[in-house]
Symmetry: C2
Subunit: 211 residues, 2 copies
DNA sequence: TAGATTGTTAATCGATTAACAATC
DNA sequence: TAGATTGTTAATCGATTAACAATC
């Protein structure tokens, strides 16, 4: 079914569909048409139908979409039911906040290990996990085979650790650093979160408002 | 010069150009051709020239681009020299990490106030700023006229506060919440950072690797 | 001058929107 | 059956890439 390659634009819209459908479900609704969903989300009905039909026919003519069913299907498409093992490197302000703030279980992952190179942090418990020394990453990965790593470390440290982790079998990165993993390792899945870039984009918009 | 409307795709690439040029400058290089930059960044030379020519002719035929000059021009385009006033609402794990981790000054902003609704946090000092009660937002905004607000609060709280801030003259949001500001306030500049969406996207990619 | 590389126009590719027949 | 709404094809729009004349 989902054999043809799905475009990046479609993939990036899926989580938002998932969230909106979750809210509609929570509000007690059971069905919705592409037109009504389009009005609530600020999209076109055409785009919604096109997006969904990349993965199969989830709707019914004359009726629309069953909200609970559709949300569950999108969850499966996103792989949220798989609970892939994730490790987090770098327990500074940012790393700690990510560990504590993000609900991994509802996004398809399980946080299984957290690491920092600073020996003074090692042993401290965050999210029920002891902070381990980065010196023990090799050992931990061979035993636990994490699928992804979350990099909350500076660029300088990120290069070495990312390369090391890829050798150890890590298949994807949630990358908060400025090291460009995708550039150096084309086969690996990378999702970048670049605060600075995002904030600069906002700066541009403010300085170029017109209408 | 930059009168025609610049596409979103171009704007989102500008911070990355800015970063790469900064690194080249730091490495002691003075000039670069679009071809060499394209190889380093994983883009096409055509795209780079098209992007830059949205804003003016920064290069020189037969020579290429002066790295320092080009970076400085992109910085001006992004408005990094303007130091717009920013306030941050929500000093939980995430808010604190953003306040401490992000270098606002180098991204066109100055953090001037931080707020939380929890009275137990009020008075605590973060980044040299006392945490203020959200009850005092009105007063603070009338006196300090912040241009943007950073929302590190749950969706439920975000709606009320965003609507309030817009009435108080806030022109943009760096939005970490799931409240869809842009949907309800079309005129306002919004840059969303949605951790959950980003992580779900990574989940999708891991579950659909092929090559 | 010859070589290199830009700025810019034209061609291609991909994503979004519109239209409508199929069907519940 | 009539009305509604999907799934899907065709048309449009926008972004990327290729090509090349201009020019340093």
């Amino acid at each position: 079914m989902s054999n043809s390659i799905i475009s990046n634009s479609v993939i990036k819209r899926l989580p938002r569909y998932y969230r909106f459908l979750g809210e509609l479900k929570a509000a007690g609704m059971t069905r919705i048409s592409s037109r009504e969903l389009s009005e609530r989300m600020g999209l076109t009905a055409s785009q919604i139908r096109q997006d969904l039909n990349c993965f199969g026919g989830f709707g019914q003519q004359g009726y629309g979409y069953n909200i609970e069913l559709l949300q569950s299907e999108i969850g499966k498409i996103l792989g949220l039911d798989m609970k892939k093992s994730a490790i987090l490197i770098g327990m500074g302000n940012l790393g700690k906040a990510v560990a504590l703030h993000v609900n991994f279980e509802s996004k398809g992952f399980r946080l299984t290990g957290v690491f920092d190179s600073k020996e003074s942090l090692v042993g401290q418990v965050v999210c029920g996990l002891p902070i381990r020394s980065t010196a023990n990453i090799d050992e931990f990965c061979r035993e636990n085979k994490p699928e992804i790593a979350i990099l909350c470390i500076p660029k300088t440290a990120a290069k070495g650790i990312a390369d090391q982790l890829i050798k150890l079998g890590v298949k994807g990165f949630w990358n908060f650093s400025h090291y460009d993993i995708a550039l150096n390792h084309p086969g690996v899945s990378v999702e970048n979160v670049h605060f600075g870039d995002s904030l600069m984009t906002l700066s541009y918009r403010l300085n170029n408002e017109q209408d």
